[in-house]
C-alpha cells in the first residue's frame, strides 16, 4: 500500500449527499482484470456526455479544478456496491484525500487499504469548506496524518482515525503480511474449530 504521511493540495467540491459507487465508476468499467487505469472513468456519466465528449459543465472539466487533489463531498459518500474500483478510480485520477460528513462503511474501509485518506468532519465544516473551494479564490488544505490535523488559510481542524489504520497508512504496511505472522494463532483456532464445530467443514462434493 502507498504510504500516507502528509499532503497539501487543491480542493474541489462535489457537495451532494449519497454519491453512490455507480456514480463514482459505472459498471461497464468493472470488467477489467487490472488494478490501475480507472481514473479516466471516474464520475464517467457526469464527466462525459452521451457521445463521449467532455461535459464542460462538470466541475472537474473546468480548467481551474482539473488539478484538484482533495475532494470535498456530501454525506454517505460511496454508498452502494463494494467495488474497490471506486476508490481505485479516485486515487488513479489523482485525489489523495476525501473529506465528507460521512462515508459508507465498505467504501471507507476500501480507501484505507489503498492509501486514499477518507476524513470525516462535521457537516457545517464541510459545507463551509465546499463554499470556499467553489469561490474564485479556491481552497488549498494541508493534511498531516501523524497529528491528525487539517490546516488552511484561517482554518485548523482535528480529525479522528482508528489508531491501527493510521499506523498502517503512515508506514504503508502490508496487512496480509502482518496477519501471516499470526500463523500459529490461526492454526490453533482452526484446530479448536474443527473439534468444536466439526459440521463447519464441507463434505467433499
Amino acid at each position: 500500500m502507498e504510504r500516507f504521511v502528509n499532503f497539501t493540495g487543491k480542493c474541489v467540491a462535489i457537495y451532494r449527499a449519497n454519491i453512490d459507487t455507480d456514480q463514482i465508476i459505472p459498471k461497464q468499467f468493472l470488467k477489467s482484470t487490472e488494478r490501475s487505469g480507472f481514473g479516466r472513468y471516474l464520475f464517467y456519466d457526469w464527466r462525459y456526455n452521451a457521445d463521449g465528449s467532455p461535459n464542460s459543465e462538470f466541475i472537474l472539466n473546468r480548467p481551474n479544478y482539473s488539478d484538484s487533489t482533495i475532494l470535498l463531498t456530501g454525506t454517505n459518500f460511496g454508498c452502494g456496491s463494494s467495488r474497490e474500483h471506486a476508490p481505485w478510480s479516485i486515487l488513479d485520477y489523482g485525489f489523495r484525500v476525501i473529506i465528507a460528513p460521512g462515508f459508507a462503511d465498505i467504501f471507507y474501509n476500501n480507501c484505507l487499504k489503498i492509501g486514499l485518506l477518507p476524513i470525516v468532519l462535521p457537516e457545517n465544516t464541510v459545507a463551509g469548506l465546499a463554499k470556499k473551494a467553489s469561490s474564485s479564490d479556491g481552497l488549498f488544505l494541508s493534511v498531516d496524518l501523524a497529528s491528525q490535523i487539517i490546516t488552511g488559510q484561517n482554518f485548523l481542524e482535528h480529525f479522528e482515525i482508528d489508531p491501527f489504520r493510521k499506523d498502517c497508512l503512515l508506514k504503508g504496511l502490508d496487512e496480509i503480511g502482518l496477519t501471516l505472522e499470526k500463523e500459529a494463532d490461526i492454526q490453533r483456532f482452526e484446530a479448536a474449530r474443527t473439534s468444536r464445530f466439526p459440521f463447519l467443514n464441507y463434505p467433499l462434493a
Partner: protein
C-alpha cells in the same frame, strides 16, 4: 447478555490485541468474476497461496449473458474476466460453479441453495449484497478486493466491531404485501445511511412467520440502509430449509449442528445501541420514485413535493432525483407508465419470488408497451420453475425467460435500459444509471412488478386477483 452478532464474533475470534482490530476467522468465502481477479493477481505476485480452498467457492454471475449461452461470449472484456476466474480457480484449487453447470447462479442465491450458507458462520464475498446470508443467522458482509485477497491468503479478516441495531416488526403483513415492501419501508424510515456503522438484527412476529426466501430479501437490502450486515436468528424454518441440501451437514453432524444453532439468538436482556419498531400490518405495497432506495412511497401515494422538505441537502436531492426520473410532484404512483419490467436479482429471483409473480400473471398478457424479462437467480431455480410450469406462464404472457445471472440489476451485460426508459424492477438499487445510462428504475416486489407488466403502469397488487394455487404461500 449478548446479541447474536456478539455471539458469532466471539466464536470466530482468532486474536485480540489492544490497539488493533480483532482478527476473526472466515468460514465461507464466495468469489465471483468481477471483484476477484486483482486479488488473485496480487497473491501470485507475492508468491502466496489460498489458505483454505475448501472453504472458498466461486461462480460467474455479474457480467455474463443471460441468453444464447451456447455461443461464445460476445463481450471480449467480459469473456477475458471469466477466463481469468476459470484459470484462478484451477490454479488455486477452488470449486467453480461455472457457466453451463446446474449449480451456476447469482452468488447469493446459490450459497443458501447448496447449503453452503449456514447459521452461526462468518461469510464474506466481494459484493455488498453478501448481507443476504444473514437471513440464516450468519454474520455475512461485503468486502473490497484488498480484503478478498486478505481472506484468500489468511482465511481471516481484521474486524472493527459494529454497533447493534434491533428492528422489530410486530404483527403480520397483509396479503399482497411482501418482504420487499417491508424492507423498502424500513429504509424509507431510517434512511440510506441510517444503518451505517451497525449490524441490524431483524426480529418480531412478521419476521418469524416469514419463509427463508423472504428473510433473505430483508437481509439483502440491509446494505441499502447503510448497514454492512443484517441478521435473523435461526429457527425451525431455517433448519427445515437447510435439511438435506447438498453441502448441509448430515447424520450425527446435523444433530450437533442443530444443537449449536439453537443457541444462536440474542439474549433477552442483550443491549442494542439503537432500536426501531414497525407495525407489519400497516405496511403497503411500496414503490420507489427517486434515485435512492430511501425515496419510496406506498403505491396509493403520490410523488412527493420537494418544497415541503425543510432540510436543504435533502430538498436538493429530491429536486435532482425528480429531474432525473422525469416526474412531477403530486403525480399518482399508479399513473406512472413503465416501459420495462425486470424480475430478478439477488433480492428477488428465488423460486418463491417467481411463484408469486406467476400467480399474478397467470392467464394474462404483458401490456404491449412493456418489455418484460424474468431472470431466475440460479439454474436450479430455472429448472424448478420450468418443472412447476411457471416458465410457461411467463412466456405465454409475453415475458422473456432467461438463464441465471445478475443481469439488469446492474446491467453489466447486454440486459440494459436505454436512456429515458422506465423500469419496474425487483432489484435493490435505483441509483442514477444503475440499469443503464439515463435509465429510470422503480424498485418493487415481484408481485408489483408482475402487475405493472400486465397493466403497463403501476397498480396496487392488492386489487388484482391472483391465482392462489400457484402462490403456495411464502
Amino acid at each position: 447478555m449478548k446479541t447474536l452478532y456478539e455471539k458469532i464474533l466471539e466464536d470466530h475470534l482468532v486474536v485480540s490485541e489492544s490497539g488493533k482490530p480483532d482478527l476473526i476467522y472466515i468460514d465461507l468465502h464466495l468469489v465471483h468474476e468481477v471483484t476477484s481477479p486483482q486479488a488473485f493477481a496480487a497473491l501470485r505476485s507475492a508468491g502466496r497461496s489460498v489458505r483454505r480452498p475448501d472453504l472458498t467457492f466461486a461462480t460467474a454471475d455479474h457480467a455474463i449473458p443471460t441468453r444464447n449461452r451456447h455461443l461464445p461470449i460476445a463481450d471480449k472484456v467480459a469473456a477475458a474476466q471469466i477466463d481469468a476466474l476459470r484459470r484462478n480457480c484451477r490454479d488455486f484449487g477452488i470449486q467453480l460453479f461455472d457457466l453451463g453447470s446446474i449449480e451456476q447462479g447469482i452468488v447469493h442465491v446459490i450459497g443458501p441453495e447448496l447449503g453452503l450458507t449456514r447459521p452461526g458462520m462468518t461469510i464474506v464475498c466481494g459484493d455488498s449484497h453478501t448481507a443476504t446470508h444473514g437471513a440464516f443467522g450468519s454474520l455475512a458482509f461485503g468486502i473490497g478486493t484488498s480484503e478478498v485477497e486478505h481472506v484468500l491468503a489468511t482465511q481471516t479478516l481484521p474486524h472493527g466491531k459494529s454497533k447493534n441495531m434491533l428492528i422489530r416488526v410486530n404483527g403480520k403483513l397483509q396479503s399482497g404485501v411482501t418482504a420487499k415492501d417491508l424492507i423498502l419501508t424500513v429504509i424509507n424510515r431510517i434512511g440510506t445511511a441510517g444503518g451505517t456503522g451497525y449490524v441490524i438484527e431483524y426480529a418480531g412476529e412478521a419476521i418469524r412467520s416469514m419463509s427463508m426466501e423472504s428473510r433473505m430479501t430483508i437481509c439483502n437490502m440491509s446494505i441499502e440502509a447503510g448497514a454492512r450486515a443484517g441478521l435473523i436468528a435461526p429457527d425451525d424454518i431455517t433448519f427445515e430449509y437447510l435439511r438435506g441440501r447438498r453441502y448441509s451437514p448430515a447424520g450425527e453432524d446435523w444433530e450437533r449442528a442443530i444443537e449449536y444453532w439453537r443457541t444462536l439468538r440474542s439474549d433477552d436482556d442483550a443491549g442494542f445501541d439503537s432500536c426501531y419498531e414497525f407495525d407489519g400490518s400497516s405496511i403497503s405495497p411500496t414503490v420507489t420514485w427517486g434515485t435512492s432506495p430511501e425515496m419510496s412511497v406506498p403505491v396509493d401515494g403520490c410523488v412527493p413535493d420537494p418544497e415541503t422538505i425543510t432540510d436543504e441537502t435533502k430538498r436538493n436531492a429530491y429536486i435532482r432525483a425528480l429531474e432525473y426520473m422525469e416526474l412531477e410532484p403530486g403525480t399518482l404512483i399508479t399513473a406512472i407508465e413503465i416501459d420495462t419490467v425486470f424480475i430478478g436479482s439477488c433480492t428477488n429471483s428465488r423460486i418463491g419470488d417467481l411463484r408469486a409473480a406467476a400467480s399474478v400473471i397467470a392467464g394474462r398478457k404483458v401490456s404491449p408497451r412493456v418489455r418484460a424479462l424474468v431472470v431466475p437467480g440460479s439454474m436450479q431455480v430455472k429448472k424448478q420453475a420450468e418443472e412447476e410450469g411457471l416458465a410457461r406462464i411467463f412466456t405465454e404472457a409475453g415475458f422473456q425467460w432467461r438463464d441465471a445471472g445478475c443481469s439488469m440489476c446492474l446491467a453489466m451485460n447486454d440486459d440494459i435500459l436505454s436512456p429515458g426508459e422506465r423500469c419496474a424492477s425487483t432489484s435493490n438499487r435505483n441509483f442514477e444509471g444503475r440499469q443503464g445510462r439515463g435509465g429510470r428504475t422503480h424498485l418493487v416486489s415481484p408481485e408489483m412488478a408482475a402487475a405493472a407488466a400486465i397493466a403497463g403502469h403501476f397498480v396496487d397488487v392488492r386489487e388484482f386477483s391472483v391465482n392462489k394455487a400457484l402462490w403456495k404461500g411464502l
